[in-house]
Symmetry: C2
Subunit: 468 residues, 2 copies
Amino acid sequence: MATPNDHAHAFQSPRGTRDFYPLELARRRWIENKWRTTAVRHGFDEIDGPTFEHLDLYTVKSGDGIVSELFSFTRQGGETRFALRPEFTPTLARMAAARANALPKPTKWFSIGPYFRAERPQRGRLREFLQWNVDVIGDDSPEADAECIAACIGLLEQVGFTPEDAQIRIYDRRVLETMLVVGLGISPTKIEKWFNWIDRREKYSKKERVESALDFADNEQQVLDVETILGGPTTKEELDKLRREAQDRNLGALAEQAGEAGQQLVQEHLLQAAEQFGRTLSELASLGLSDWVVADPSIVRGLAYYTGTVFEVHEATGAERAIAGGGRYDNLIELFGGPPTPAVGFAMGDVVLSLVLQDKGLMPSDEQIASDLGLRPDAFVIPTAETEHLVKPLVARLRREGMHVRHTHKSTRNVGKLLKEAGNAHARYALILESDSVCSIKNLDANEQADNVPIEEAIARIAPPGRS
Amino acid sequence: MATPNDHAHAFQSPRGTRDFYPLELARRRWIENKWRTTAVRHGFDEIDGPTFEHLDLYTVKSGDGIVSELFSFTRQGGETRFALRPEFTPTLARMAAARANALPKPTKWFSIGPYFRAERPQRGRLREFLQWNVDVIGDDSPEADAECIAACIGLLEQVGFTPEDAQIRIYDRRVLETMLVVGLGISPTKIEKWFNWIDRREKYSKKERVESALDFADNEQQVLDVETILGGPTTKEELDKLRREAQDRNLGALAEQAGEAGQQLVQEHLLQAAEQFGRTLSELASLGLSDWVVADPSIVRGLAYYTGTVFEVHEATGAERAIAGGGRYDNLIELFGGPPTPAVGFAMGDVVLSLVLQDKGLMPSDEQIASDLGLRPDAFVIPTAETEHLVKPLVARLRREGMHVRHTHKSTRNVGKLLKEAGNAHARYALILESDSVCSIKNLDANEQADNVPIEEAIARIAPPGRS
């Protein structure tokens, strides 16, 4: 049997995880509450899955390469491989597939819970973190994209951000793909490599950036051309111009040149994607949300399963990692055994959000959070030497009636000191028991005291409405 | 890369885990909310730790034997062994030890989160479950035991149980230990084996029960004598009698016979434990909770770290596993590197609690739960053919103002059908937009409709107080 001294590291939380003492836990709950109330107001229903899944659920979509990024395990003596969930979308797709025929269209779901990545911890990235997932399932319209993004913006507003603090950077992968294939003649078979490079390119130095692209680019000029396109059309007018220009070209020849994939690209992506992306932007405008949104062709997202709209929320100066990210994934639910089902969603973690809120001074004070979460005691009961035996039975009764009541555990009977303790606990009222029938009641917010109040009258004054 | 057809089990949740669709998630949140509000009212502060810990945190206390009951893992290429947490107490002891000098006495903490056991799933036991942990740290008094138990009873009351539905079975390990050593002459070195047997004995058949005890019992008569003691003293009067009887014996001879351990047993346990256990029972009585409590010497709890009071909550007929269990663990925080710190606490899982609530018809209806959780839409906005374009901007505005608002995603404009959809969504009000300035407002609970209401007036009527 191991002894404590053999294993000093057993007394710390694992690297990249967090201990939440009461103040940290209250801040975490403040964020969770903002996530939950925002999603509910926007008409989403809460769901959740297991904290771990079959490992296959993640390799089906992402290949075995993902295993090194996961915490995976078997049961002792068992063969089935499990993994701590690194993201929610595969669970959601599995759950949607299992009930596909019974779900209304659209189905609007959200979830809040812990997620895990076996990465090196760094600023904004931990091994265990909380994540809010918001998804609209069974609706392929640009309006569904906007509905999802509106919920994301709703959260940004709820925590006190303005469009000067944070922005939604949005684009449509199909539009970018079309620009790369039709505009630059890049082979559709190389698009995934280009997307991965685009997603990572801000992490490279300028020299590394070009070099890393030359692994698959035709030549250095092509890399520069792609960079130019990433500064490409962002307004509705520019998007319309792109469509007209491309339509003016010889689409048949382009399609032939690119094979079947190219044909689909030209037909579906070029003629539909730019129009649909324009509609998403228009819908956001009609919801009064244009100030929050910037079209940005360099947003592609790393995950392979996105099929159209992709977006990220960034702190306006770009100082931190993305606060949130998401997009449309129209093929995933089918991949997990359901009928073809379009879907769009996003995820927001608590780590970067907390960093940005703190940087901007938007995280409320601990007192404000305690008040927001309903954690303030309704009353703090103080005895005199004669009424000490009455305190605990009264406290027990008030708790049973739905009140949050505290009392001292100290031996002092100095009323001044105990009033101070009541104030430190942020209690709304102090009840000083003068006898078994009469008390003084002090409103600690207003600093007003009334003496010789019958106890039942004082209790009626303290009781918050509708508590039981 | 695996393909879906290779791995059909990837499309189900792992055995012993649960998918929470909206109705199941709402029931889970109803229980979590009852746990949280009860703990807060009783003056406990919420904390949490990581979902996984260093494996050593569990083997330090329980030995390597526990590893087969855990889901343990390493990072790919890493050496450090981690385990999904099977219980909260080691995390709590680690966290208390780390801040021991800064914590007030007592420190009252609770936590709510997922826990994991690599066991065969069965009724009342899953591989992933939720658990509520409630602990009083830094107070060795019987009153602290009672404070903890009072919070547990507070929860039972909050979910609608009466003492006819569920009972706290409580005892003190030291009292039982004294009865076994002083009364029956059992060696103190064999007490842990006896406790394990007592904890498991109801799972054996009568024949197996005696046989399994003969592995360490002196003879069959001793097993029968222990069984008799398990029906032993349960009232304050009986406990006092036990003390007097034992004091009348030759304590010195007993102590010498049992060595150092026996001496401590006689001095500390016999003279203090029965008195302290009596005080715990008296304190519960003075809080008006006697009806909930039954002293029962057969309650010892399986875990080795309990040092005094132990208790379990059982459905009154004993039909299910324990709803909750806990006790005093005065040595554990010191074991994890803190100063000597007494502590008492309990844990309640969601699985057995849910089963018992459902069996007794105490789980509220889904409508009631939606109402309790504040999930009912404040309004459902319905357009006419002329006002369709006004719906989404209005909905977006009301959500921004803090209201939970829904609208149809169907193409029908039949007001009757849409009112039905509003009712199915449990909305409080339907707003039928007649023009950009006037609407009909229908109170769906009262089934009362007012026509030609200015929209701003209707909104003011809908807005719940204090929402923002």
